[in-house]
Structure formats: C-alpha cells, structure tokens
Symmetry: C4
Subunit: 219 residues, 4 copies
C-alpha cells in the first residue's frame, strides 16, 4: 500500500504542545463556522509505538476550547491520563486513520458545504476534484491536473463498524487525502498538524467552489 499523503511514521508532538495547538485550532475553525456547537474532533499523535493521540474530549464547545479539553488516548481509543470528560465516540476513527495512514494529525470538521456535497455525491461513492491550482497544497501533489477522489461513506453510529469501513476505504483509495461522512462532515489528516490544518482549508475551499459552481450550472 502506497501512502502518498502520510508516511509510515508521521510526526509526533509532546502532549502539552499538542493540547495547546489543538485548542487554538478548534477556536479558529469554530470562528470560520466549521465546528459550530460541539461538532468535530481534532487529534494529534503524541507517541508512535505504542500509538497515543491527544484528542479533544466529547461534547466540548469548540469556540471556547482550552488545552484542558484535550485528552490522551491509546490505539483503542481509551483514555490514558486522568482528567475530566471522556473521549469522543469518534476517537476510534481518528485511531484508524492515524494507524493506517501513519498520520501525525487527524482533523474532523463539520461545514455547510461538506455536509451538502456529502449528500449530493453520496450515490457516486465520492467526489472527484480536478483541475484546480489549490490542489497543489495537498501533500505530494505537484500539478493542478491532479484528480483527487474524496470518498463518501454512509454515516453510522456504530464506530467499530464505521472504523472498519474507513480502513477499507483508505486501503482502496490509497492516494486520498480526505474523506466525507454522509450528511456529517470531513475527515482529513497529514504527516504533521500543519499539513492536516492546510488540508482542511484546501478541501473546504474546493468544496465551496464546487458547491457554488453547481448552482451556477443552472444557467
């Protein structure tokens, strides 16, 4: 399996730095309307062997996110540090992606356009983004002629089952930098937290362009 968007061993950050940076990122994505309410989860790898992630805890409003709202979990998604709150149910998806992609960070946001496009293209199993210069901001992409396929998976409240499907999709689409959960939101990742943050911004930008172009297509 090729891992174009994340090497076998992505970066890892000390826990306190990861917590601080995830909190900052959450507040900024919230400001853009990508993490309204308590939606979304952000994680960064803090140890590789065995795998440990810093991840935002469940049900925290992202507009006021602080480092104290971040937990440490192991590869099974169980908390490994004492503290209030519990890991999000979706922690398992973060663990699957960090493991299968060797990602250093996994970011999950809920935006208006990702929600709309995840429904519009659901029956095609995904969405191809091609011909945009902005694609060059994705790790390893060197030309706007890139054909980037963003898989769309049906939403599911059973995280073990959904985790297996995510793993299968990552394996099938080994060049993918992101995936959408239907009527739910975006997952993207990167070798470092900087890469993953850039991927969120690029994919969100491109989904908005495609979403709005589609409206214009009526004429």
């Amino acid at each position: 399996m090729s891992r174009r968007s994340g090497p076998t061993a992505g970066a890892s950050l000390p826990y306190s730095a990861a917590a601080r940076r995830l909190a900052d990122l959450g507040r900024r994505f919230y400001a853009r309307g990508w993490m309204l309410g308590t939606s979304g989860n952000l994680s960064a790898v803090v140890a590789r062997d065995p795998l440990k992630l810093a991840i935002t805890r469940s049900s925290v409003p992202k507009g006021a996110l602080t480092p104290a709202d971040v937990l440490e979990v192991n590869a099974d998604g169980a908390a490994t540090r004492r503290g209030p709150g519990r890991p999000s149910a979706e922690t398992q998806l973060h663990c699957v992606i960090a493991r299968d992609r060797g990602a250093g960070a996994v970011l999950h946001t809920h935006s208006v356009w990702s929600t709309i496009l995840s429904e519009r293209h659901a029956n095609d199993g995904g969405l191809t983004i091609a011909g945009y210069e902005m694609l060059k901001g994705l790790a390893g992409v060197t030309s706007h002629e890139q054909r980037e396929f963003v898989p769309i998976l049906d939403n599911d409240q059973d995280m073990t089952r959904l985790g297996r499907r995510v793993s299968a999709v990552l394996d099938e689409h080994h060049g993918a930098h992101a995936l959408l959960l239907r009527r739910h939101g975006l997952y993207t990742w990167g070798e470092t937290l900087d890469d993953a943050e850039r991927h969120v911004e690029i994919v969100e930008f491109l989904l908005e362009v495609i979403g709005r172009e589609h409206h214009g297509a009526t004429v």
Copy 2:
C-alpha cells in the same frame, strides 16, 4: 407531557453572572450576523420559584451589549429591578418557554436563513430536519436518524395571543428543541445557557445547509 429538551427545573444562574454571559453572547451572535441592529432577545433564568429571568432590554444594539443592558423580570414579564429601559415586548414569549419547557435559558435570534426558511415552509406549519449528524448536538438526541420537527408560527404583534399559540405549539410538539416565527426568526432554549447557545448554533447550521441544498436542487 414529556420534556425531552428541558427538564421541569432547568438550571438557574445568579443575576450578575447571567447578565455578563448574555451580554457576551449577544456580541458574539451579532458578529455572526444573527442579531443585527437591535434584533433578537436573550434570557436566562435567575430564580425558579417564583420564576425570574434576566433578559436583554428592548431596542439595544447587540454589537455593543453590556451587562447594564440586561433587566430582571418576573413570570409576567414585568421588570423587578430598578434600572433604565424596559423589557422587550417579546419578554412574554421567553417567560412562556421558560415555564412550559422548564428551560434555564431562551435565545431568540434573527438570521438570514431562519428568515428565509420560516417563509418557505410556512404553509406546512413547520420543517422537518432529518439525517444529519449535527442533530446529535441537540439535548437528548443520540442518532443522526432523529427526525426533528421545527414548528413555524405566523408572526403577530399581540404578544399575549402569540404567547398562547407558542404554548399550544410546545405542548403539541413536545420533542421540539426550537421554533420559528414566520419572517421573523428563531427561538430555541435549553436546560442551561450552554445548551441553549449550542442549540442556536446547531439549528442555524442546519437551516443554512437546508437553505443552500434547496438552491442546488434546481439541477
């Protein structure tokens, strides 16, 4: 009557804390474009028995809201502390919702998308939102398969009459987390002010998704 979105006795806050938090919330909702001009009202329960609410006073620009712009009213909507200004005419609706839902906070915003959808779906008496992960942010909702009905009421300048209609609608739709006044705006509430704030963000997000999907439906 079941009260899934607010128990019989929601939280209450000390008056000064409520005033401070409502002022902060007003400035943030204004920044998002949900309380432009002097539109909207925010309230939080400060005593339960008898009921007292802290509520923003009438005709105050929300972009510069301070704790001094918050009044205390009783269950009839009459001011119970000395100070400048008068309670908003819509105070009665806040009292009805706080009483009937046992809510700890009632928030009323005017957004572009809630205004548009309150008109588009008025003849159906409301709008069903179903299948979105974001619904899980509403109190007591555990799956995206939730079918959330948002009742729409015709607007009215007679607040006593409108209050009775709101009460009847809350009773009929005992699972509702929010309602729309036609060409007017959104009312939502929660057991705590945090819950109510989250409900505003979630409902606004979902209305924007539905509003924009509709446009795309032309193709």
Copy 3:
C-alpha cells in the same frame, strides 16, 4: 412634507466625537465587507444652523479609518477646517439628505447584495420590503406589516444633478428610510448616528434575505 424617519432637527455631535465614531463605524462596516477598498462615505451633523457635517474624506481605505480621515464641511460640501485631503464628490448627497430629512447622520455603503438588488429592481424604480419583523428596527415602524419602499435611482457622476434627483425622490417617498443608487450602493440616515447605523444593518439584512430568497424561487 412628513418626515417619519427623521425630524426637522436631528441630533448633532461635537466634531471630535463625530470623527471618532465615524472612524470606528467605517472599520466595522469594512470588516463586514460593506466598505471594501475606498468605497462609501459616512457623515454626522456637527452643527445645525448653519448646517455642518463631519464626513469621511475622499479615497480613504475604510479598513484603516482614523479620526484624521474625517473632514468638516458646510451645507455646500466645502471643507470648513484646515487639513489634508478633500471632501468626497458625494458629499453633496450627504448634505441634501441631512437637510431634507433633518437627519443627524447619513451613511453610504457598498455591499454585494445592495449592488445586486439595485440592478434587479431598477426598472421598477425601487423595491418594496414587506412582512418582515426586522422592519420594526426602522425608526417609527411598529409592525412587520410595514410596506417599506426603497427607491432606486440611476447612478450619475454629476453630483449636482444627482443631488436634485435625490431631493425629489425624498420628497416623493416621504416615508422612505433608505435609497439605492443603481449598481452603486445604499444610502440611509437617521435622527442620530445610532439610528443610522441600525438602519444600515437592517436594510442590508433584508436585502440579503430578499436576494437569497429570489434564488430559491426557481424551485
């Protein structure tokens, strides 16, 4: 002539307070995208008899507006204090409105939606806004059943001629709170600067609602 939206003698502010508040207002409207580049002009009456206005000077970027970017002009639009820069060509329109409406402040913004609607409804000579609760934020309006007519005038680079047409339109539509210049932008005013600011927010909100509803009307 009735003057429902501004009495014969609106408020006036000391010059230094007016300059400070106009600069602050310009930066905030710029942040909302209503005064991009150097577009728009803001004025407030600083003396009534004879009329003097504080007004933003020509060609100043509004995102960095300071009190030093404000000039004082007389009823003919001529500068009455020493200082750099010259009054905007559109100063004459501000003077006409301040005089004819007895307004204490006149605000002119360029937004995306006012530009679009000023073209879409140009052949009707204006646009009626009716049935929205938000209308109650306009001075003297007490019900959402208000039918607010916003006149649209063809754009013109000859300010003396345009000033006469503005004056005629204000006289014909004595209840109007705002007018649009075609493919140009919004003029609104108020008895005080607070009123005028609120009018900008309300009219911009309603134009956005109407602009977006129109799109949805295809279905």
Copy 4:
C-alpha cells in the same frame, strides 16, 4: 504601450517595511478566505534599478505570516538575501508584472469567486466588468461607465512559458488592472502597495457581485 494602471516607475519600499506590510496583508486576506492554506503570493518592489522584490516565500501558511516569511529576489526571481526557504515558483510572474506594468506591488490571491468566474468565462478569454460605481476605485478610472476587461489565461505549471503569456496579455490589454489564471486565482497590481491592496478588494467585490447575479439570472 500605455500604462494606465501603473506608471513606468511605481513606488518602492525599504525591504523591512515591505516585509512587515506584506505579512500584515497576508494575514488579513487569509482572514477573508482569499489566501487559505498556503495559497497566493504577495510582493512589493524594494529597488527599481536593478529590479528587486520582497516576496512571500513558497509554502507558507498565510494565516500566520510574519516578516521572516518574506524573501528578497532579483528580476530573474532568484533570492538575493540569505535566509530560510525558497521563492515561490510563481515569483517569475510577479517579476514580469512588476517590470511590464512598472508596478510597485503585485498581489496574487485565491478566492472562491475568482476561481468560479475564471472557469465560467474561460472560453471567452476574459470577463468584462462594466457599469459599477466600484470600478472607480481602480487607478485612473473616473466613471462607473468604465468597461474593465479582466483577461483569463489557462493555468500552467511551466512558469517561464506562463510568464511569456502573461507578458503578451498585459501588452494586448494595456488598460487591464487585473488578470485571472483559470481555476487558479487573481493577479492584480498597483503603483503602490495601497493601490494594489485596494485593487484586490475591488476586483474580489465585483467578481462576487457578478457571480451571485448570475445565479439570480435563472429567474
């Protein structure tokens, strides 16, 4: 060749002032969503003879841009000061524009609307913007009756070839204030950095108006 939008010798800034101002500009354009991820490049002329530019270095996230993220390059796009990072591949386009237009600053942004319109009008070789008051913010334009042609060039990863095409287009459309690269973004420039910044805001505003009007045209 006439150079209506930039004289033979535009302004130049000391390097440290240029670096500081470009960093500030990048963060503000990022906040508006015009430079998401690492997209876009900003430059200002720091010496005329021989030509030297301060330019943002390649692959820097614009939301956290600092003066240390700015490089100095010569007319061939080669770095002329020691420091980390390398010039962007698109530096050559900045040099071509600074030289051919005598511009003091060249700004390249990626917005949603410029991307959409660069595709929609690609087959016409460009887009005419006419009749908008906002056009008067472009250098040398004195009436809304201006017919501003914005050329659109196919995107290309070969910067030497693309630079020659840009040069030819600037020569053919000697009155142009901006150009679009297809599915890529906007280039604009000005005699000073202030002029160029204003041109970005004006062109982005007008593209958004035209993009949204087009949607409405279905009715």
